[in-house]
């Protein structure tokens, strides 16, 4: 044997620095906007169910109508992301537990149907029993619709996404609360309707805390997977998201007396929610485009396993 003992290379090696992974075709603003609308629709369905149960008739109607509109808007954005939008319905050709996108499509379809039925009853007053049942069921599909994209993104080879399967669903749950809270604040302020103002305010504040905490969780993630949340395009967006969301939460605290503060809070929260999703998309693209993230994380995992 003429075996040579080679010192392991300290710097990572690659094929001309070319990406190992393909960078996603999903793009801004479609994907982040879809995520925001899904969260919004899901959280508003939950709000509608709670409002219905506690006798807030006006709020239940507004929330369910808003939820239905957001669900259809999200569906349209989803179709727009396809290479063959005319084949959108192929999503419902099979039901595949191993595909979060298949499961998500079914959740979106079920949720859209349920919330549409509930909203139709709210508007027309017809079939109240059926409408109420659909509305109650949408309280199950709503949170699922809001948080499943965490699994959708995590169940990929993209280092910044796969490693974040704990934080991403929480980010989207918080985003659902801030989106619904922002919608409530804006609606109350514009209509000068104080009836459910306090609930919207509280929802916005709780959501801002959850969303910021999840964002912080991404940022402090150790290793190469966390790097793209600490520096670069994704990190800049994530920082912007934090300032907007926390600012929106603080404005919500102050919104007790001021309609202007309520509107400012709603705008900041909506912007923060969008930026957080855009940050995740950008971080994912960066971590897929640079082979260093793939090689370093895999060598570390192989070494520890």
């Amino acid at each position: 044997m003429t075996e040579q003992l080679q010192v392991p290379s300290a710097e990572f090696r690659s094929y001309y620095g070319r990406p190992i992974l393909k960078v996603t075709h999903w793009k801004e603003p479609n994907l982040p906007a879809y995520l925001v609308l899904g969260e919004l629709s899901g959280a508003l369905a939950m709000v509608g169910a709670v409002a219905h149960a506690t006798g807030r008739r006006s709020l239940a109607r507004t929330a369910r109508l808003g939820s239905a509109v957001a669900a259809y808007g999200g569906g349209a954005l989803l179709a727009a992301e396809l290479g063959r939008p005319e084949r959108f319905l192929n999503m419902l050709r099979v039901a595949k537990p191993t595909s979060p996108m298949s499961m998500g499509s079914w959740v979106l379809a079920a949720h859209s149907g349920l919330i549409s039925a509930a909203a139709a009853t709210e508007v027309t007053g017809l079939l109240p029993g059926l409408g109420a049942a659909a509305g109650a069921a949408s309280a199950m599909t709503g949170p699922a619709l809001a948080t499943y994209p965490g699994v959708l993104l995590a169940n990929t080879a993209v280092p910044a996404w796969h490693s974040s399967y704990r934080e991403l669903p929480l980010l989207f749950a918080g985003g659902g609360m801030t989106a619904a809270g922002a919608a409530g604040l804006a609606a109350s302020a514009l209509r000068a309707d104080r009836a459910d103002f306090d609930a919207a305010r509280r929802l916005a504040i709780v959501g801002a805390l959850v969303e910021s905490a999840a964002g912080y969780g991404l940022e402090v993630k150790p290793g190469p997977e966390g790097e793209v949340y600490r520096s670069g395009e994704g990190a800049r967006m994530l920082t912007a998201a934090r300032y907007l969301t926390l600012g929106g939460g603080i404005a919500a605290l102050a919104a007790r007396r001021s309609r202007a503060a309520a509107l400012v809070s709603a705008a900041l929260l909506a912007g923060g929610g969008y930026c957080a999703k855009a940050a995740v998309l950008r971080a994912g693209k960066e971590s897929a485009a640079d082979p260093r993230y793939v090689v370093e994380s895999q060598l570390r995992d192989a070494g520890s396993g």
Binding site: N155, T156, W161
Partner: protein, 297 residues
């Protein structure tokens, strides 16, 4: 007929003896694959050409007809229109004297060329297939993985799921494409075009079990000849994708060839991911309830 619910955890990860059977086939042919022995690759790119010709692949890759500056590699990477890709690596590598009448033992400074024809791995646990929401990606009776172009709606989920960066969406066409291991030729009893065209038998096609045996023997020969860097890549059923249907004999670390060092099928962690999403959905529901519980009306 599909066998639902049978050993679901094993279907997501780990060794799997009968991959076509696991997908629901009965009385299916043996699992076939590629063994690409890069030590005898001469970089002729006949595989790339044969693949393009047989499969009628367009040359719409932006990299095509451009000079990349990456040695003789102007294909760049596998993609929607390149289902074989020959990598060229030029390394400064000292070589031992081979002259019988040389002036004693020693080493000469030299450049060595690594050439390797990359291809879809046709994984035992294929992430692209797992995540495909339409059922366009399917397991064939040969144990390979193909896209059905008449079903694919171009969602591009497979593109991000593949740990090898193989499958991609063709932009003008909107659908995802990748190597089919020449499914049409297999159905007709022929070997895939790339293997047929390879002049040095660097690309070997056959039943996977036989190829693995051939590869082990070849590896032992190389080690015996002092080629310490020789290693098999993708041949181990215990690896992160349950072993690849297309595996390789390499002379350096996988990342040098543009391959991930230790790929894992993303679906391995799927049950855990759903649990965290379920918990987050609970947080959302509880958060809304809390907001309303103490709210003034």
């Amino acid at each position: 007929m599909r066998k639902e619910g049978s050993a679901i955890s094993n279907s997501l990860y780990g060794p799997l003896d009968d991959v076509a059977g696991n997908a629901g086939y009965t009385g299916h042919p043996q699992r076939v694959g590629f063994f690409t022995d890069t030590t005898v690759c001469i970089g002729c790119k006949a595989c790339e050409v044969a693949c393009k010709e047989w499969n009628g692949l367009p040359d719409t890759d932006p990299d095509v007809l451009q000079l990349t500056g990456m040695s003789y590699d102007n294909t760049g990477a596998l993609g929607a229109d390149s289902w074989r890709h020959v990598a060229f690596i030029e390394q400064a590598a000292p070589v031992p004297h081979v002259h019988a009448d040389g002036d004693g033992a020693g080493e000469d400074a030299a450049t060595r060329w690594l050439m390797a024809s990359d291809v879809c791995k046709h994984c035992t646990h294929a992430a692209c297939l797992d995540v495909c929401p339409t059922g366009a990606l399917v397991r064939t009776e040969f144990g390979t993985v193909i896209v059905q172009p008449d079903v694919c709606n171009g969602c591009a989920y497979c593109v991000s799921a593949c740990p090898f960066g193989v499958i991609d969406r063709r932009e003008d066409d909107g659908r995802a494409w990748k190597c089919t291991m020449c499914y049409d030729r297999l159905r007709g009893g022929l070997e895939p075009a790339c293997a047929k065209a390879c002049p040095t038998d660097s690309i070997q096609f056959g039943p996977l079990d036989e190829l693995r045996a051939v590869a082990s023997q070849r590896l032992a020969e190389l080690h015996a000849a002092g080629e310490a860097g020789a290693r098999l890549y993708g041949a181990d059923p215990e690896d992160g994708v349950g072993g690849a249907g297309a595996f390789f004999l390499l002379l350096d670390e996988p990342e040098v060839y543009g391959l991930p060092p230790d790929p894992v099928v993303t679906t391995r962690d799927l049950p855990q991911m759903w649990r965290w999403a379920g918990a987050a959905a609970g947080v959302l529901a509880v958060g809304v309830a809390i907001a309303f519980a103490g709210a003034r009306r």
